[in-house]
Symmetry: C2
Subunit: 197 residues, 2 copies
DNA sequence: GGCTTAATGCAACATCTTTGCTTTAAGCAG
DNA sequence: CTGCTTAAAGCAAAGATGTTGCATTAAGCC
């Protein structure tokens, strides 16, 4: 059986991967609301008790899987200019997160009541991307951005609309946010905000 | 038994109220993670099947109860000036929502996967308050605000920090948001954004 | 007062969750 | 390479939760 160990790390890692894969497959096939732990366990070829012991309950497994799925596979596109990079990234973010699938993932991530690691992971992905855009801009000799400001002005409103108003943000709306962000950085710079006490 | 009918509307309304009360009481007493439907049903003096039939599952009952609890009991404080009103309202919002209790309520509201009415209700409460501040400002001859802009610049970042960074926004942070909002409205007004396509 | 209808109670059943114990497999020392 | 140690998984029974058909109750309406 050693051949099947595509990934080093032993049985434990294999099972984690199998359970993640089974969860994602079932999410696609039967839909979020029809899923339960025994179903996932059977699909993954493990006993339910294993899932319960490692993840606690369905909510945490879904949060873990959703966070995994939201992990970016690549750096944001390089369009040649900071303005272009930022626009492309934010538009894509709004599209992905605003789609029904993205919304469901976001909700699953936020539903984890126990540790809240999943939400922090997703936030970290966004921060990393914004930092990449910033480094790229600086390397080009452009002005760059404040990550905190970008989150407040661009990312947070998008997420709020998706979660509370429950709709996909329109491209016009996102363009408006980008215009506001550009206006702030161009004409009326403020000192960076501290978001932790 | 008619004396106990504090509220007209029949048995159905009585039971809804009893279940809501039982849920809130148990949330306070034993904590969010220890609660389940049979426990709430017993406390409310109904059978579990009634709860399942009316609310579907625990998540929806918690979302409904949380939205109910987040319903404001009064209009925002009148401090005499628009700037004061807005500051007081936003600071209080950040405090209430950022507290452990507020965070839990917010998560419960967002966890509802079925109808998403609860999140929309909460959003509507905020909008109504902002509209009240606006009317008040206009009545005083002050400039007032755009509700959409206030949500994007003030409310959304606060919610994002609470949900994803998982911490209570500091007063300094909120002051920074207010300064940004004032700067936008004073020096560099933008056309109101459309948030629905 | 009697009828109609929607909602609840009851109880049996199905399913999910937990837990003690056994078994497996990975890591490590000799 | 073999045997020991330990963490994790399997198994199975017990416990709790979720579901459903049918009887009963209560509210609204002639």
């Amino acid at each position: 059986m050693a051949r099947e160990m595509v990934r080093q790390g032993g049985r434990s890692a294999r099972i984690q991967e199998a359970v993640h894969a089974a969860t994602q497959a079932l999410l696609d096939e039967v839909g979020r609301s029809e899923i339960n732990v025994p179903m996932i366990a059977e699909r993954a070829g493990v006993t339910p008790s294993t899932v319960y012991r490692r993840w606690g309950d369905l909510a945490q497994l879904l949060a873990d899987t959703a966070a995994e799925r939201l992990r970016p596979v690549a750096d944001p596109d390089d369009t040649g200019s900071f303005a272009g990079d930022l626009r492309a990234f934010v538009q894509q973010y709004a599209e992905e997160m605003g789609s029904p699938v993205g919304r469901a993932l976001m909700r699953d991530v936020l539903a984890e009541t126990a540790s809240e690691h999943a939400a922090a992971r997703c936030c970290a992905y966004t921060i990393r991307h914004l930092q990449t855009l910033n480094s790229r801009a600086l390397a080009r000799g452009e002005a760059g951005l404040s990550v905190d400001e970008a989150i407040d002005i661009l990312i947070a409103p998008i997420c709020y609309r998706i979660l509370f108003a429950n709709g996909e943000p329109s491209p016009d709306y996102v363009n408006g946010l980008l215009a506001r962000f550009a206006g702030l950085n161009g004409a009326n710079p403020l000192p960076s905000l501290h978001h932790q006490a």
